[in-house]
Amino acid sequence: MRMPAAQSGPFGGRAWRRFRRNRAAAASAAGLTIIAAACAAGATAWRDRAARADLSRARTPPSRVDPFGTDLLGRSLAVRCVVGGAVSMGVGLSAAVFAVVLGLAWGSLAALGGGRIDAAMMRVVDIIYGLPYLLIAILLKVGLDGLLRTQAGLSAGGSEVAVLILAIAGVSWLTMARIVRAAVLSLNAQPFVEAARALGASPWRVWRAHILPNLAGPVAVYATLTVPQAMLQESFLSFLGLGIQPPLPSWGTLAAEGVAAINPVESFWWMLAFPCGLLSLTLLGLNFLGEGLRDALDPRG
């Protein structure tokens, strides 16, 4: 027998109206959709053009032919930015998905396990939380890299990206775990969950049918906030040369190229401005979106 959930779905009318009223969030949602669509479309259409180098037109500022200018090897920066955007967002999104799943599992297990299990699992979260994210991401990547290369015998390229995604996910699940644990603990104490248990439902069924649907709200909010975090990690790693490897572009690697090209004689400002600007705008938009969702679903006056 199905018990009614304690609250009608997280995206009920009132929450949606509150979200729409938040202009920054709404604008961000719109802007992000445009950027994402442009990058996705561009990446598929221009996949090869990203690597097409024309040394005769190296280092030219923005013009009608090359709206973002060209880089050191004469490649069109606009094309590279679009493809790089697809890569960055793709990696960020995939890593966020893994992080959400891992955080959801960890937080739920800790909350339902209770007592010592809970204490131990959350202590692990606390410890990792205290260490610098990037350090651990780098180490994870190094380890997974070696593992995949020797064991699976995969070639570079595909496995590189997969390893990167897993490494980033490996440090991005912490906040989700904490949020999920708190939410599951409070849901666990609700009468409708107790009733389901009293009826003899198995713990798995209780979790899947009663607790999980009610987690949709907080999970949606923090999933949205995990994506920019993951993208930030990727951009740092790629900037340092430890992430996406050339010739595949990402906003981080493009920024690194831009920084390397700076010299007091002539500034190639476009090589720096466009990737950094696009990255910052996307991160800003994602954060506004996440905060807007959080305010809409959990207003505290």
Binding site: P132, L134, L135, L140, G146, L242, P264, L284
Partner: protein
Amino acid sequence: MIRRVLVRTLQVPFILLAVYTLTFLLVVGVPGNPFEQGAGRALSPVVEQGLRQRYGMEDNVRFYLRYLGRAIRGDLGQSLYYDNWTCNEIIAAGLPVSAMIGLSALLLAVAGGVGLGTLGAVHRGGPADVLALGLSVVGVCVPAFVTGAVLLVLFSVAIPVLPVGTWGSATDVLRPAAALSLVPMAYIARLTRLGMIEALASDYVRTARAKGLPERTVVLRHALRNALLPVVQYLGPAAASAMTGSFVVERVFNVPGLGVHFVNSVLNRDQMLILATVLVYAALIVFLNLACDVVSTLLDPRAATAGAP
């Protein structure tokens, strides 16, 4: 309270051991030959055996224990890539640089964040408030290397005031520290502003005003002291964030700090140096977190009587 501090202190060696083990597993325990340097050419087994013996890396388990023993005594090993340098020497060269930048960045972040947040809360809706709010939203989203790049371009190309890319004088700390300080400053401004708004609306501030105290005393002695508690607690994560940022900022400004050595050690697969730098970073952050914990417990008399750590 002393009990809580003691418990936290006793956990430190265990945390460091866990970090060491994890790092070892990921870096050394994984197959991948550190002695193949780039070209992919396989070394002859005899040469490889000789190299392994030289560094004491024949057997992973024994290496783990031996390195641990040496590390406790302060010897962090020999760099595999930089033949003539011990890890201690490399770290001793880079750590003071990074520490100076990191500390300056945190000082800037606290000064700027607390100042802006307080002004914004006291004069709601004024320019300081708008700035504080804007900073706390935007500052969180802009990666440290973007800030660094902007500052680099601004001060080297657009306004050529100070020399770029060199490292020798005190002013060279300014730009990397400024770039590094933006993200923690944004968080601190947000925390301070919210904390001050709440404090200024509280009952005890009303009592302080009812006493006839001048407004400045009310703001500084009563409201600010209470509002700063979460900021002190944030300093631990702020230090971690500064550490992360330092990797990229040092690269942008060409600063010979520990971050550059760490990144290079990863690129060069210099396992000894990786282990050494990770241990140093972990020790730093764990001690900083402990210090912040202790200080915030000291500042808040209610925490002393609170329950378990």
